[in-house]
Structures are given as C-alpha cells and as structure tokens.
Symmetry: C2
Subunit: 449 residues, 2 copies
C-alpha cells in the first residue's frame, strides 16, 4: 500500500516507524500528529530532569521536529490530539486544544502510537492542580516548575516511576513521603527482592508507608491509610493506561488493559492500520500471553517493525520478557521474565532460589555485592525469570539471564555457559552460574510426578 | 568404580574434582599430590599481588590444605610432582624435589589436573635467574620478591598475562618495556579492537614494541628485534603449555598442543583415568574443534564435572567459547567465540561490524564508551563471536553475547532481545542491539550463492 501515511504520536514508536518508512519510501507523504510540543524524547529521563542531573528539557530530545521536517521531509504537526477515527472514510479527527478547533486528516495508512497516560484514581480531590502525573516531557517540565518552593511532597505508588520521582525530589531538597497500597514496593519483584530497595529509600530519608492506600487529596495534603499527610505537591506513580479509547471506539480490537491488539508485524485488526508503543499490547514470551508493557525499549522496537513492514519490508516483533533495570539511590534493580508470584499465577509449578555474591574478587578493594533470585519450572528446569538487586554495576547482568530466557535454556545449560572472568569482575563462578547451580539442586529435589 | 582416588594437582580443577567426589562418597580414600605449597588458589590474582593491590599471597588461597585435610578428609600431600605413570600397575611415580627422592603412589582411579607451565622459548640465556614465568602462586611469590630494587623490566609477549604483569610492574614504579613478536597486542582480538589497548599501555608510560621478537637474554638485559634493552627483570608472557608429557608417555591420548584428550565427561583414553583443567583439551562450541584454553573458569567446571562422574553421578562439559575479560590500565576488554581472523581460519565465510556507544544516556554526567565488534556467518547471519573494548563497566557485557552464541542465535534474533534499559545504563537501543543491527545489514548485503 502507498498513499499518505499518518502517524498519531511523535515520540519513540511513532517516529521510529516514520523514519523506517522514509528510509524505504523516499517520496511517500508522511504526516505526524503529536499532541505535545516535542518529538522523539527520552521520557525515562524525566526523573533526572526533575532531580537536577539534567539541566535542560531539550537535552532529552533525541531529534526535534525541525530535523524531521527539513532533513527527512516528514510533516510533523505539533499540538494536535487524535480524538476520533473513521475507518471507512480513512480519516482522523484531531483536536487543537490551543485553538479550540478540530480538523480532519485523511490517511491511506495509519500508525497509532499514542502512548499511555498516568493512571488517575477516581478519588476526591485528585484533579487538584498540585497533583501531577509523569508521562510526557510536557508533564516533566510542568512538574519541574511546580517543585519551586515545595517543602513536602507525597508520591503515590512505589513502582519504578514512583521511586525514581521520590529520589529526584529528595535531590531537590524536598521532604518526601511515599504511600503504597501494597505491602511492598515494586510489585514486579518478589517481596524478598524488593525489601533491600525499601531499606535504601528509608536510608535516604524518605518516609515510606506500605499498605497505605491514597484516599483523598485535600487542600494542603492528602489522606492515606486513614492519616492526613501534609504536602505541597503530589506525584502519581500508579502506572499508566494505554491511550486507545478512540481506536476501540472506531472498532479496532483491544485487549489487556484496553491496549490495542497487534500481530507480530504490528498490524491491528483494521486493514492498513498499525500500532506500536505504549498504546498497544505485546506478547510475553514466557507467559505465552498478551501483556501491556509501557517501556521505551519496546516502543522503539515495535515502531521500527511497523515502519519496516509499512515500507514494504518484512519484520516481526516476537515479544517481551518484561526486562527492566533501574537505579534508585545507591541500589540497582533488574528483572526479566516472571517473578515467582507471576509464574504461579500463569500456572507454572516453579522453584525459586537466591544467591549473594561479589562482582569483584574478594581479595581486591572496593568489592560490590549482587543478589540474584531466579525462578525455574519444576521438572524441566527451564528458566522462567530472574531478579537482581545490588550495588553499582550489577543490574545489567540481568541481560545474560534475559538472553538465556529467550533461548529457553534450562538451569543446567546456564551452569555450562562460558562467561567472562577476571578478578576485577567477580569470581570464577559467575553470580549467574551460582544461582543456576543452586536452582538446579532445587529443581532436582522437586517431585513432579 | 571405587577404591583409592588419586588426584594429581591441588589447584582449581583437582580440588573441585576431589570435593565433588567427597560430597558423593563420604568414605572414599582420596589422595591429592600437589607439586607446590598451596591448594585452590586464584592464579589470576597474581598480577594484583605483584601490583600491590593484594597484600598477602594467602589472600589468593580459597581453601588451604589443612581445611581439605581436617574438614573433608582429603589426604593432601604438598611438594610432590608426578613424573611417571604406570597404567597397568595403577601407580604414579612422584618426585619430592625437597628430599630428592621418588615414591610410588597406587591408585584405583586417577584425576590428572597438573595444569600448565609458561612457555619458555629455546633462546640463549632464557634460563637466567632474572627470567620469570608466571603460572603458579609460588611463581608469583618469587616474582614479587624479585621486584625489590628493580628499575627496568622487560615483559616478553603482549597477551593477557603479559599486559597484566606490565601494568602490575608499572604500579610498583618499574620502567617497563613490552616486546611482542606480532604486529599487535592480544592476538585473540582482531587488530582493530586491540589498537586502543596498545594506546592505553603507551599512555601509562609503557614502552611497547610490536614486531619485536625476543632473541636472547644477556647479562643486564635482553636482545629483541636486533636491539639491546637493559633490564633487571624479565617476565615471560608467551602463553602456557599443558603439563601432560608424563601422561602421553604412559600411552594416554593427547591432542592440541599436547593437551590430554577428554570426552564430555572428562574421561581420558585410559580406563579409570580422568583429566580436568589447564592440562587437557576443551571442545570449542563455535569452531567445532578441540582447543587448549587455560582459564580458571574452565578448570573449575571441568573439575566439577569429573568429580560428579567419578562420584557416580552424571555430568558433562559441553565446551567453551573462549570467553575472556580483563582490565588493563583504564581499558576493559572482553571477547567470546571467534574473532574475524579465527572464523576465517576455521573456514567460515563471515562478516564483521563495529559500533561505538555510550553505556549511560548521553544527557547524564560521566558517560562511558563501549566499542563492540561482532562477527557473523554470511548468509545464515548466525553470530560467531564478539569483542569488546571500552571504559569501566563495559567488559562483562560480553556475557550477553556469549549466551546468544551458546544458543546459536542469529543477529536478527539478537536485535529482538529484550534487554534492560534505563538512562543510567545506556540508550534505548543497547550496544548489543546496535552491533547486531549493523551486522544484520552486512549479512544481508553479502552474496552467498
């Protein structure tokens, strides 16, 4: 198919798709509608902007609109938000909030890359201006401006974005309380792995309140767990939901959390309509089920795959493992695949085991510690997932386990891996080997028939 | 089989085997003959002992002989070197250098874990007392003692041990010259990857002389490349050869470089005789050929496999990738699989590609750089090997590629890997993705039929 390509959303997924099409079809008409004022920015960098490690929002922009326009002949239109979709007439209705008007934009093919929006719980006062969600770069800039003069902040939710924002605010000299409804931070980690992270937050002077659900936002504070907590600023870190309602309304099939359903080439259920990024589903390679994962890595890959296919090539996105890493205070975290709790939820009978090891020979100075928990299927010994918590230089070791997981390796095969060793990097048995060896003993000891 | 187990060699491979047998056979008689004065030590730590980062040789010992004797009932006998082997009479002849005598030690089963010895070229003066090889902990202690008062040293050979020893001597305040016969350092790396390492050596003030073969050792110096270089100390870094002559003399089959041939359970060609570690061969998983790799990681794994099998269990050692990492000055190096030159030698038609990337988002302070070169088979796109050179925190990324290599992944499959990302750890596209993407383009462009 050729004709006009319209891309809704000018961030990672949308612009990756647009660029791949441009590379293959130099003369094609490509229009991008972006509701914000930026293109191709690193949303994951927002906590570093708020925390002061990044001086200027523009540093987070990989490629500004002018470059797409002048160098790649992509018609980027800022400030337009898609509101409705007419599949028969091949037309998007877009809303210009600044000018209070709508326009219709015709398309031959369409990429929906609208991203996700922060979850706003339906509670009293949640629309108070001191309540901020953090998803777009515009959100980040508004939040940064709002921190001026703030003494006390409440962060709602102890997931990745909540903890990263809490740390950023502490760096700004703000007194921070985190309220989390669950009995642990980071629900994507098993409780035993998440515990040291909670300790690090407390060591940093953060008032961490678990099993404390937000109940209301009031003038000068919030109510959570039955208690009133004073605050000049509230940051929502309750996760995101896909921006896909207008697509569902047009009859495009949606799935998990309302995310747009796509096949392995990023095609939606509608002919000539593609989707990529935080607004659509991904296939989880271990769970063997669709999931909604809102991460920049996935968005870029899906956008690339959509663009290659639209441009006449062939590419597929096989799926995700839910791999994620982060650094909170002085603690690094990594995870891939299923946690023990998730594996059980997906019907696996599994065993878990943990090890603690050094990532430098113990006879050298300045040794750092890593803790790895890994989960394997009972009987087969196949790896199902792994989690890392440790000091600097540990989190990215998760990639070895993510690769083993992709290959469907058993723990016995992981023990045999020929991994690099020298004293500045660990011991002869790598931490990955150690956890696989420990797990292998548990797997053997688990009756399966 | 049961009866007396004799293990020749009390370092990584030998003691791993002994301990695995002890775990499975609590009452079995186990005798270990060790030619040196130590057991289970980290030979890879010797450069850090010589360089002063480790204060005491004993810190490099993981488990001393007393512990094996008292806690594990293993009869460790120090100072005995195996000289001859009588397979019919099931007997080892051992030589006690200190007492100038030999004894015969009977065995029912035998593990040969004699390790390797530094290559000493057959050149005039090479037996001069100022010439040191570095392999055993005793070698390291002698060398450390010999550095006192040394002003100028010549290191012969620019491989791992040569470069590590050169750096250690510089830390001791010694003026160091490296003489290397080849036109590059680190022959296990492709020339383009090795070049930045050579630059780092020069920046550290080392006089690096390539294409400069050692010709002779003389009073007060060496002759290399036709020139006389003054030196009070000469360190050999020309690699090692397996200590396996006595086994070959007894009729045990040997292979590459005279290393003992073993099957995947670490059995030699002789009934009831096993071998593990630097004295025996390994199977290279990419070259599909036996190789001789003298590394502590391999020795530990092979020793464990031998011990499990001797103890009545079943374990196999599938093979190696030649994975290695090291840190020289401020440069980290990693490699796995075949270099481009090696791949061609083994008959592969291959393509290579390199990328340079940051291991932190470019908008954060203190960004470090990684360079990855990867090699893939033309046509199939299957990964054959990879090499890393970079700043702190880069070398261990080689493990991701080693794992992908073990799984037989293509570069297209590597592009799809779900690797961890957050701004403190890099960009949305991991360096591993980037090199795979670049390589994928080259693979596609290579005509194969």
């Amino acid at each position: 198919m050729t004709g006009r390509l319209v891309v809704i959303g000018g961030d990672a997924a949308g612009m990756s798709a647009a660029m791949q099409v441009r590379r293959r079809q130099p003369d094609r008409e490509i229009v991008v509608l972006e509701r914000g004022g930026w293109t191709s920015y690193a949303a994951c960098g927002i906590p570093y902007l708020v925390g002061g490690e990044v001086d200027d929002a523009e540093e987070l922009v990989a490629r500004p609109p002018e470059v797409f326009r002048s160098e790649h002949d992509i018609d980027v239109r800022l400030g337009w938000e898609a509101r409705a979709l007419d599949l028969d007439r091949r037309r998007v209705e877009a809303w210009d909030a600044a000018g209070s008007r709508t326009v219709d934009v015709d398309f031959d093919e369409l990429v929906i890359a609208t991203g996700a929006a922060p979850v706003r719980p339906d509670l009293p006062g949640v629309d108070d201006p001191m309540v901020h969600g953090v998803q777009t770069l515009d959100d980040g800039i508004r939040l940064l401006a709002a921190t001026t003069g703030v003494r006390r902040a409440v962060v709602v939710g102890g997931g990745y974005i909540g903890l990263e924002m809490a740390e950023a605010l502490v760096r700004r000299g703000v007194q921070v309380t985190i309220v989390e409804a669950a009995p642990q931070v980071m629900s994507t980690l098993d409780a035993d792995v998440a515990a040291p992270l909670a300790d690090a937050m407390v060591r940093m002077g953060i008032d961490l309140r678990l099993e404390t659900p937000l109940e209301a936002v009031e003038d000068g504070g919030v109510v959570a767990g039955g208690e009133r907590l004073p605050a000049d600023l509230v940051v929502l870190g309750l996760g995101v939901r896909p921006i896909a309602g207008f697509a569902a309304d047009a009859g495009i099939e949606v799935g998990v959390r309302g995310a747009i359903r796509v096949d392995r080439r990023q095609r939606t259920s509608a002919e000539g309509v593609w989707s990529a990024g935080d607004c659509c589903e991904s296939f989880h390679l271990v769970a063997r089920a669709p999931v909604h994962v809102a991460l920049g890595t996935v968005a870029n890959k899906q956008g690339r795959v959509a663009g290659v296919n639209i441009g006449g090539g062939y590419a597929t996105f096989p799926g995700v493992l839910g791999t994620a890493v982060t650094r909170i205070c002085d603690v690094e975290i990594g995870r891939t695949g299923l946690s023990e709790a998730e594996a059980e939820r997906y019907g696996y009978v599994c065993v878990g085991a943990s090890i603690e090891a050094d990532i430098k020979a113990r006879y050298l100075p300045d040794v750092r510690t890593i803790r790895i928990k890994a989960v394997a299927e009972a009987g087969t010994g196949r790896l199902l997932g792994a989690q890392i918590v440790g000091e600097e230089g540990t989190a990215k070791r998760i990639d070895v386990l993510a690769t083993a997981l992709t290959a469907g390796m058993t723990v016995a095969e992981i023990v045999d891996l020929d991994l690099g060793y020298a004293p500045p990097f660990g011991s002869v048995w790598d931490p990955v080997h150690l956890v696989a060896r420990r797990l292998a003993r548990h797997v053997d000891a688990t009756p399966t028939s």
